[in-house]
Amino acid sequence: MTSVLYDAPGPKAVFRSRLFSVVAGLIIAAGLVWLILALGAPKTSANGAVQPGLWDASRWDVFADREVWRTLGRGALNTLRMAGVAAAFALVLGVLFSFGRVSDTKWIRIPTTVVLEFVRGMPVLLMMLFILLVFSTGSFWAGVAALSVYNGAIIGEALRAGIKSLPRGQREAGLAIGLTPVATRFRIEFPQAFRQMLPIIIAQLVVLLKDTSLAFVVGYEELLRSGTSMTNFFGSRYSFSFFLVVFAIYLTMNLLLSWLARIIARRTGSKSGGVTTETTAPPEKPLDPEVTYPAALGNQMGARGI
């Protein structure tokens, strides 16, 4: 795209842009080095006591203790457990929601739409508190229920958009060969919609993993909570160190899952091309669902990804 916008640069322009790039890179690197050094510098607090810098060994010696790592590992496992259970429920709920939304019966379609609007407009955190207080479940099930309802609603919308974007002939053909409407939906339309929307669904599951950290607020013993409880145990001297380690673990988990999602999206993206009408996109453009499907997804897309 950018290459279309201007003439191919000559040798002078290439040199200039390369120079600029190097200078900007040096500025960024200098800023990062300054930040690291500033964090590492010893600080004098108001009462005159000198605190060691943040990279000082005295702030990191707890990590020699294996029990610390075991606690963090338990926290990470709890996070993954919540994400796994919630993801399974969210997928099931998403399928149910999508069928409800495209149902031919008014009595199913309208209540489902209202429930979906309600759920998608509400913060997950409020839902967690709600479930925790009203149904007095433990914090684990409150988190799982809120996450699966919220993400189920978004997956349901994505699937609905997938079903809607199929050519009408698919449904007509299914009915014409004598399948019942339900069987048509299940065996003809749904598999295609699911495959088409798989990138979006997986992206939503990454969001779900991220959102499990909200269960921190309702007191679930997940990764962030295990970090803070150890800060309380060992003293605030270690608060930055624990934060940084928890941050790194989260980042690793999420980046791995995002990377996996991208691989799956690429593989299914090329396969589903044959069954849909949306092969008109120019091949040089990457198949970005946010660009390719916005018309079908409508404003439903928004809640996803954040």
Binding site: M1, G25, M122, S239, P282
Partner: protein
Amino acid sequence: MDAVIENLPLFLEGFRNTLGLLLLAGTGALLLGIIVAAMRISPVASLRGFATVYTEIVRNTPLTLVLFFCAYILPYLQFSPGYFVLATIGLTVYTSPFVAEALRSGVNGVHVGQAEAARSVGLTFTQTLSFVVMPQAVRMVIPPLINVFIALTKNTSVAGAFFVFELFGAARKVTNDRGDEVLAILLAVAAFYLLVTISLGLIAGRVEKKVAVLR
């Protein structure tokens, strides 16, 4: 029900703070997002790389972690301008990559043929951008951008967990005092949130319909 009516001033104060967070963090995220998006599509490789890394890192960090950093670690590092400001900073940083991605996908969503046509009738780089690409991109960007702000509205609730008194904080306080009417209180708070999110959603839908005609 009377628990809701009794505490209505509290809820309204919370709602005001939620709106304040939404406006301040929204504006901040928009500015930061424009900068990041500009860096990401710029021809300068090092800026592009920096913006990509920034986007990836922030997008893969849970909001709770970002706000936790703002609420606990920044004061510990002797930077404490108050929790409201800290929460605004956290929400701004967290939302900015999503804004940047929305902007970028809008610009990428303009068909290449448009730029090619503009170039082939002899428009310069600036003319192509300002008369052909940008007018279309802006229109396409508005619905996803509104969606980012809807998500931001919901995300302000997380700030309530970190000492900012907004709607979620109000809900927590009131449900602590009046454990007998939890359901009514939470439904009332949900109604406030829905007021913002659904009306923003309706605007997004409207704009989307207008844009759909163009394509």
